[in-house]
């Protein structure tokens, strides 16, 4: 785990420990809800999960517990054998396999004939290797494979000195990308706020489109390999983050996708409209009070006890997925 996140000193009245990233926790739960439906393609327990567990392996624990997947691979770019020991020590289950190398070289080595859920939780800014990784999976994945990519979606800042040299947020962003990926209509305005997250989404979709176009050159034209974007998350526990997810399948499998029902799940998004996860600041007392009023029945009068409508709504949207914390005496 990089030093990026410091556990905040939690004021005692706060219901949620923001140091433990509640928004990310909610995202994880929403994604697993979708993963559970993959049975239409293959028995879920026979899937392989590829992730970047860090030393806490939170996603691995959830995946193994809720989905029963045992084929677990964690990628970690760590060369130092001393530090590698720490990762290996913290593996939550015996069957977690560590791959200590860069994501690009790890993905290259894996056998993609195995149906997989690959969650590349990069945490960092977009870079050329992200495009390479997406292309690797799109070129090789079997139908029923899911690829999710999580990236930082914060804009670069521009110093006055850079501004004087005509460097803009856009030119700085463009430098992070391989040539020929930035869509033609993107201007500086498009990168503000959550705009950058959507540009990332578009570029990764384009990468999948391009890779599949090549792959389909040798496949039956009546049954090409296609994809559906299934995730479009935006959240911020600290910096703005975005997760884009793709499901790969053959055109003939379209009925399976419909039968799976993922299109009706809360975490599913197939276009530019994102799932926005906001975790409001509530007290313990407010949390208990609201929980008892949910789920909402039509016509119900909601007692918000002074909490804003926006915050209440943000809570209500994903209340089922909120983490619960316990306090213990030592």
């Amino acid at each position: 785990m990089s030093g990026r996140r410091r556990l905040e000193q939690r004021p005692s009245f706060e219901a949620f420990n923001y140091g433990l990233r509640p928004a990310k926790h909610i995202e994880r739960r929403l994604m697993v809800e979708v993963f559970q439906r993959l049975n239409v393609f293959h028995p879920v327990t026979r899937y392989r999960y590829v992730g970047m567990g860090s030393i806490y392996f939170v996603d691995f624990v959830l995946i193994h517990r809720l989905l029963g997947i045992s084929d677990l691979v964690s990628i970690e770019d760590q060369e130092d054998p001393e530090k590698q020991r720490r990762f290996s020590f913290n593996k939550p289950f015996r069957s977690v396999r560590m791959m200590f190398e860069k994501s690009s070289s790890a993905l290259d080595k894996l056998d993609w004939k195995v149906p997989s859920i690959a969650w590349m939780d990069y945490d960092g800014m977009i870079a050329p290797y992200v495009f390479t990784d997406v292309a690797t999976v799109a070129a090789l994945a079997v139908p029923g494979t899911i690829l999710a990519v999580t990236l930082n979606a914060e804009q670069d800042s521009v110093s006055p000195k850079e501004s004087a040299r005509e460097i803009t947020e856009l030119t700085k962003f463009a430098k992070r990308l391989p040539a020929g990926k930035l869509p033609l209509d993107v201007t500086v305005k498009h990168l503000q706020g959550w705009g950058l997250a959507d540009v990332i989404r578009r570029m990764l979709c384009n990468q999948v489109i391009d890779t599949l176009a090549t792959r389909n050159g040798t496949l039956d034209p009546a049954n090409p390999m296609v994809f559906r974007q299934i995730f479009n998350f935006q959240y911020r526990d600290g910096a703005r983050m975005t997760t884009v997810g793709f499901l790969f399948y053959r055109k003939a499998d379209e009925p399976k996708l419909t039968a799976s029902g993922i299109e009706h799940l809360e975490g599913y998004r197939s276009g530019g409209d994102p799932v926005v996860i906001e975790v409001p600041h509530l007290t313990h007392k407010e949390l208990r009070y609201f929980e008892r009023q949910l789920p909402i029945v039509s016509g119900q009068h909601l007692r918000r006890v002074g909490v804003s409508e926006r915050d209440f709504e943000a809570y209500r949207k994903f209340y089922r997925h909120y983490p619960t914390y316990a306090e213990t005496w030592v």
Binding site: G180, K181, D185, D210, A213
Partner: protein, 467 residues
């Protein structure tokens, strides 16, 4: 065995049919060019029109190109249903449409006096090839100074007929001059081929097309031409070379004795490093033919007239620009598809020699710069003091970031000759490992937090103790 009786039918036998089949012809001419290139051919026609209308001045100051194409535009639409290129660059006259524009190849009778001065459209095949490459139905409508016509043709129907001509759906002549802003051409292709449709729908393909258009149209855009693709305007930066008091690009302009109708301009120097785009750029009549070349074609790795190394990443700040202009495009050393250079051209061979000689001082500067970059004086202040070349480079970038300037030194690329005193005393690198616990103890002792600082401090400790 005796043969049967022969009956002479020579006079009644028509000649053996050698007439070209239309399908064959279409296949042959469309397969040797890529889709983007075919579209570029159409764009070139529009640019030629612009030149003819507004004239061209090869002696123009390139640091301040005139806005002679102001008001002119080329708009492209690229979608799954249609391809459209629309311009207001002068149009095609009815005469030319009837006699030449749709002919397959140029007849020898259309002599040099017909040619558009400084044109790019050379070989008489660009438009037809592009139309067939794109789809099965095309429509060309054009208004010139005195005429207006429409040709609307279904290719499959055309293939079914014996004739090789395209009838006019409309042809009009005017009794006065059509005002300039109304003169132009619209080419529309529909019933796109499936591969074309697939490419047009991919955003990255369209991005690639715009990149190529940007390169090809850099000079006309600098002169005020507006080009758009699906409504988005193509912006193109002017080429730049850094210059300052101590760094000056090489500039040479001349007309070769052998070809007095050709003008050659060379600009060589340095600019912001770019691994992909560094190298040589060659323009023929302002049309970019070679971009960012790092190969033997433009002199990298040459052994004569002087020795030049092969391109390496350390030369990623090298930029050289060659402009070749002529009234007669046939005199310029480009190949038939305008995608490359005819390396056998004597003109090219001679210009290439100039390019190689011009490169050498820049290579020397870049080598010295790289050496400076990699040297690591231990002291942070020394690092700044002892990188004079990088300082000069940064000054040239900041202070006088200028266009391809005529203020160059014609004889050679100039770079600072730093006397050795400024370079600082000669240094050597010390490198060793010691057990981590010992190093940590030393860090505490010296109150520093890096192993390299421990190295410096322990050395200074010795120096002080012994002097």
């Amino acid at each position: 065995m005796p043969l049967p009786n022969a009956i002479d039918v020579t006079d009644e036998t028509p000649p053996a049919d050698a007439f070209p089949a239309k399908e064959f012809f279409i296949n042959v001419i469309t397969k040797d060019i890529g889709l983007e290139r075919a579209i570029l051919d159409l764009v070139d026609n529009s640019v030629d029109g612009a030149r003819q209308m507004r004239g061209v001045d090869p002696t123009e100051d390139r640091t301040r190109p005139s806005q002679r194409y102001e008001g002119l535009r080329i708009d492209l639409t690229v979608s799954k249903d249609e391809f459209i290129i629309s311009d207001n660059c002068g149009g095609i006259s009815l005469d030319i449409a009837q006699q030449r524009a749709f002919k397959f190849g140029r007849s020898p009778l259309s002599a040099a006096n017909d040619r558009v001065p400084h044109s790019i459209g050379l070989f008489g095949i660009g438009m037809k090839r592009a139309l067939f490459k794109l789809g099965q139905h095309f429509r060309v409508e054009s208004t010139s100074s005195r005429s207006h016509f429409i040709i609307d043709q279904d290719v499959v129907a055309w293939q079914g007929r014996d004739e090789w001509d395209f009838p006019f759906d409309l042809a009009q002549v005017y009794d006065g001059d059509v005002p300039e802003p109304s003169r132009g051409t619209i080419v529309t292709v529909t019933a796109l081929h499936s591969t074309v449709r697939a490419d047009f729908q991919r955003e990255t393909w369209r991005i690639g097309l715009v990149e190529q258009l940007r390169d090809a149209l850099r000079e006309p855009i600098a002169r005020g031409l507006v080009a758009t693709v699906n409504g988005i305007q193509i912006k193109a930066e002017r080429p730049i070379l850094y210059q300052s008091d101590r760094i000056r690009p090489y500039v040479k302009e001349f007309s070769p004795e052998s070809d007095p109708n050709v003008s050659v301009r060379l600009y060589v120097g340095v600019a912001a490093g770019d691994l992909d785009r560094a190298g040589w750029y060659v323009f023929c009549n302002d049309r970019l033919v070679i971009a960012g070349d790092q190969t033997l074609l433009t002199g990298w790795g040459a052994k004569e007239p002087v020795k030049v190394p092969k391109y390496h990443n350390q030369f990623h700040r090298f930029f050289g620009y060659v402009y070749l202009d002529s009234d007669d495009p046939a005199l310029l050393p480009w190949n038939t598809t305008k995608t490359g250079i005819d390396v056998d051209s004597p003109l090219w061979r001679s210009v290439r020699n100039d390019m190689i000689t011009a490169m050498k001082p820049v290579i020397e500067f870049l080598n010295a710069l790289r050496k400076e970059e990699r040297s690591k004086p231990a002291d942070v202040e020394a690092r700044i003091r002892h990188k004079p070349l990088l300082r000069e480079f940064a000054i040239a970038a900041d202070e006088k970031k200028d266009l391809i300037a005529l203020a160059g030194d014609a004889s050679r690329f100039v770079w600072p000759d730093i006397p050795s005193e400024e370079l600082g005393p000669k240094e050597m690198l010390i490198k060793y490992t010691r057990p981590e616990s010992d190093v940590l103890k030393a860090m505490q002792f010296f109150k520093v937090d890096s192993a390299s600082d421990v190295g410096v401090r322990t050395f200074l400790y010795w120096q002080r103790a012994e002097s």
